[in-house]
C-alpha cells in the first residue's frame, strides 16, 4: 500500500515538474524533454495503481498494456516534435539569410 502511494506521488511530482518546465522554458528541446518527463510521471501513477506486492495475487495487466501503448505513442510524438523543432530553426535561419541577402542587394543597387 505504502509502495503504491510512494510511487504515485513520485509520478505526480514528476508530472508537475514537467508541466512547470514546459510553461516557463523557451528552448524547444527543453520543452520536449519536459513533455517526456510528464508522460513518464503519468505512466508511473498508472502502473503504481496496478501494483500488488509479490505473493498477494496477480498484477492487473491492463494498465501495463496501456502504458506500453503510451510509451510507443510518446516516442513517436517525441521524434516528430524534435524534427519539427529542427525545421523551425532551419526555416527561420533561411528566412533570416534571405532577408540579409535582400538587404545586401538593395544596398548594392542604391550605391
Amino acid at each position: 500500500m505504502i509502495t503504491t502511494l510512494l510511487y504515485s506521488l513520485t509520478g505526480l511530482i514528476l508530472f508537475a515538474m514537467g508541466l512547470f518546465t514546459l510553461i516557463i522554458h523557451s528552448h524547444p528541446l527543453r520543452k520536449i524533454l519536459a513533455v517526456n518527463v510528464m508522460a513518464t510521471g503519468i505512466f508511473l501513477i498508472l502502473v503504481a495503481t496496478a501494483y500488488i506486492p509479490l505473493g498477494q495475487g496477480e498484477v492487473d495487466p491492463v494498465p501495463h498494456a496501456m502504458v506500453l501503448t503510451g510509451i510507443v505513442v510518446s516516442v513517436s510524438v517525441t521524434a516528430l516534435a524534435l524534427i519539427m523543432a529542427c525545421r523551425v530553426q532551419e526555416t527561420s535561419n533561411l528566412a533570416i539569410l534571405k532577408g540579409k541577402k535582400k538587404v545586401k542587394n538593395t544596398q548594392e543597387t542604391e550605391t
Partner: protein
C-alpha cells in the same frame, strides 16, 4: 460500423504506398465513407442505437463502438465536408503545381497531404464512434499528430513555428486527458463509457478526473484563455488544411467534451461549473469577434471567427438545466453542423482569393467580385450563416438558445448572443464591402482561371449551411430518437 474507421485507414496506407493516383484512392475512400455513414444512419433509424464489441469481448475488458444520434450526425457532416475538401484539395494542388515557380514544394505538399488526411479522417471517425475512454486517447493522439503535421505542410517559417506550438499544445492536452483517464481507472477500475456512467457518483477522485479531462479537451478545443495557438496555426496552413482544421478537428474534441459533460458524467456536473464554462464561452464570442474585426489578413480574420463561433457552443452549457434533454444536443449539434459547413466554405473562399491574388490583405481585395463571382457568392452565403440570419442552421440554434435562456430568466446570455451576431455582421461585411469596389484599372497579375473544383465545393457547402435551417425537423428527429431510447435505457433521464 467498424468499416468507417478501417476504410480510411486502408486508404491512408495505400496513399502512402503508391505515390501516384493518390487522389483516386482518396476520392473513392471519402465517397465510400459517405455511403457508410448514410447506411449507418439508415440502420439507426430502423433499429435504434447499435453496439459493436470488437473481437467479441464484452465491455469491462473489450472495446465497444456504438452509434447514436449525435455521433451519427457528426459522422455524416464529417463525411460531407470531407468529400468536399477532397475535391477542393485536388483543385488546389493542381492549380498550384501548374504554377511553374517552386514546383518541388507543391509536389511534396500534394504527396503527403493525402495519406495524412486519410489517417486524420480515420481518427475522427474513430473518435465519434468509440465508447472506450483509453481508445479515445489513442484517436485523439492520431488526430493531434496528423493535424499538426498537416498544418506544417506549408513549409513557411511562420507555419512551422505555429504548428510546432500546435503539436506541443495538443500533446499537453492529450497528456492531461491521459492523467484524467488514470484517475478514472484508479477510482472506477473500468474504461468503458457506459460502465463509467454507473460509477459517476460524487467523489473527489471523479471530480478531479473530470476536471483533468476537461482541461485537456479545452486545450484542444481552444476555448478562450487557451485559444492562443489556434489563429496562427489555422491561418498559416494551406487552404484545404485550414478547412480541415477549422471545420473538423476542433469539433472532434468539443464533441467528446460535450459527451462527457452531458452523458457520461452528467450526474456529477455542478451548476457553477456549467456557468463557468458558459462565461468563458461568452468571453470567447466577444473577444474572438473583436479580434476578427481588427485583423488585416483575410485568413486570420476567418481563424479568429472560429474562436468566436466556438464560444456559442459553450454558451449552451449553462442553459442545459432549463432546456429539455435532447434540446441541448440539438442546439450544440446544429451549431456545430452549421459552423462546419459555413467555415469550410469561408476558408475555401479565402483560399481561392489567395490563389487568385497572391495575397489576402483585406484592404487590397477590391474588384474580386468581377473575376471570382462564385467564390464571392459562397463567401457571402457562408457569412450569412455565420451571423445566424433566418434560414440558416445557426439561426435555429440561436433561436433555441434565446428561448431557453428566457425560459430560465437568464437575461445576460441573449445579450451576448445578439452582440456576437452584430459583431459577426461587422467583420463579414467589412470584407464583403471590399469585394464590390470596382477598380478602374485591371491590375490582376494571375490570369490562370480557377478550376471549378475550387469554386463549387465552397458554394455547395455554403448552401448546405444556409438551408440546414429548413431541414431542421430531420436532424431533430434523429436526435430525439436517440434520446428517446436513451430515456428508455436510463429511466432517470438526462438531467
Amino acid at each position: 460500423m467498424i468499416a468507417s474507421v478501417i476504410l480510411p485507414l486502408i486508404a491512408g496506407l495505400l496513399c502512402f504506398l503508391f505515390n501516384r493516383r493518390t487522389f483516386i484512392i482518396a476520392l473513392a475512400a471519402t465517397l465510400a465513407n459517405f455511403l457508410i455513414a448514410s447506411f449507418l444512419l439508415y440502420q439507426f433509424l430502423i433499429f435504434g442505437p447499435m453496439r459493436c464489441y470488437i473481437g467479441g469481448w464484452q465491455p469491462p475488458l473489450g472495446i465497444t463502438l456504438r452509434t447514436d444520434g449525435p455521433a451519427l450526425l457528426m459522422l455524416l457532416i464529417t463525411a460531407v465536408t470531407g468529400f468536399a475538401v477532397t475535391l477542393y484539395a485536388r483543385g488546389y494542388f493542381s492549380h498550384r503545381i501548374s504554377d511553374p515557380v517552386r514546383v518541388g514544394r507543391h509536389q511534396r505538399q500534394q504527396r503527403y497531404f493525402w495519406p495524412l488526411w486519410m489517417l486524420l479522417l480515420a481518427g475522427l471517425n474513430g473518435l465519434f464512434l468509440s465508447g472506450d475512454i483509453f481508445n479515445l486517447y489513442v484517436t485523439l493522439e492520431i488526430i493531434g499528430i496528423s493535424a499538426a503535421s498537416l498544418a506544417a505542410l506549408s513549409g513557411k517559417p511562420a507555419s512551422q513555428r505555429a504548428s510546432f506550438r500546435y503539436l506541443l499544445i495538443s500533446l499537453l492536452g492529450s497528456l492531461t486527458y491521459l492523467l484524467g483517464v488514470v484517475f478514472l481507472y484508479r477510482s472506477c477500475g473500468v474504461l468503458d463509457l457506459d460502465l463509467l456512467r454507473n460509477f459517476a457518483v460524487n467523489g473527489s477522485g471523479m471530480h478531479a478526473a473530470l476536471t483533468l479531462l476537461t482541461i485537456g479537451l479545452l486545450l484542444k478545443t481552444a476555448l478562450v484563455p487557451l485559444h492562443f495557438w489556434l489563429p496562427p496555426a489555422h491561418a498559416n496552413a494551406l487552404a484545404p488544411v485550414s478547412v480541415i482544421l477549422s471545420a473538423l478537428v476542433v469539433k472532434g474534441s468539443f464533441y467528446l467534451l460535450f459527451r462527457f459533460w452531458f452523458e457520461t458524467f452528467a450526474s456529477i456536473v455542478t451548476t457553477q461549473a456549467l456557468n463557468f464554462l458558459g462565461t468563458l464561452g461568452a468571453i470567447a464570442i466577444l473577444w474572438g469577434a473583436i479580434q476578427a474585426i481588427r485583423q488585416q489578413r483575410l485568413k486570420l480574420m476567418v481563424a479568429y471567427s472560429t474562436v468566436s463561433q466556438l464560444g456559442y457552443l459553450f454558451i449552451a452549457f449553462p442553459l442545459s438545466k432549463a432546456a429539455e434533454g435532447a434540446q441541448v444536443w440539438a442546439i450544440v449539434i446544429f451549431m456545430a453542423l452549421t459552423h462546419a459547413c459555413a467555415k469550410s466554405a469561408m476558408f475555401m473562399a479565402a483560399g481561392n482569393i489567395y490563389l487568385h491574388l497572391g495575397h489576402d490583405r483585406i484592404k487590397d481585395l477590391s474588384g474580386v467580385r468581377a473575376s471570382l463571382p462564385i467564390t464571392v457568392f459562397a463567401y457571402g452565403i457562408a457569412g450569412v450563416s455565420l451571423m445566424g440570419l433566418p434560414p440558416s442552421g445557426a439561426f435555429i440554434a440561436k433561436w433555441m438558445l434565446l428561448s431557453s435562456s428566457f425560459a430560465s430568466s437568464q437575461w445576460w446570455w441573449p445579450l451576448v448572443i445578439v452582440t456576437g451576431s452584430l459583431l459577426a455582421m461587422v467583420y463579414v461585411f467589412r470584407v464583403m464591402s471590399r469585394f464590390f469596389v470596382i477598380l478602374e484599372t485591371d491590375t490582376l497579375k494571375n490570369p490562370v482561371p480557377l478550376s471549378p473544383l475550387l469554386e463549387w465545393p465552397a458554394l455547395i457547402l455554403a448552401l448546405i449551411s444556409l438551408f440546414l435551417g429548413l431541414l431542421a425537423p430531420w436532424p431533430l428527429h434523429i436526435l430525439s430518437r436517440g434520446s428517446m431510447t436513451l430515456a428508455q435505457t436510463f429511466p432517470g433521464g438526462l438531467p
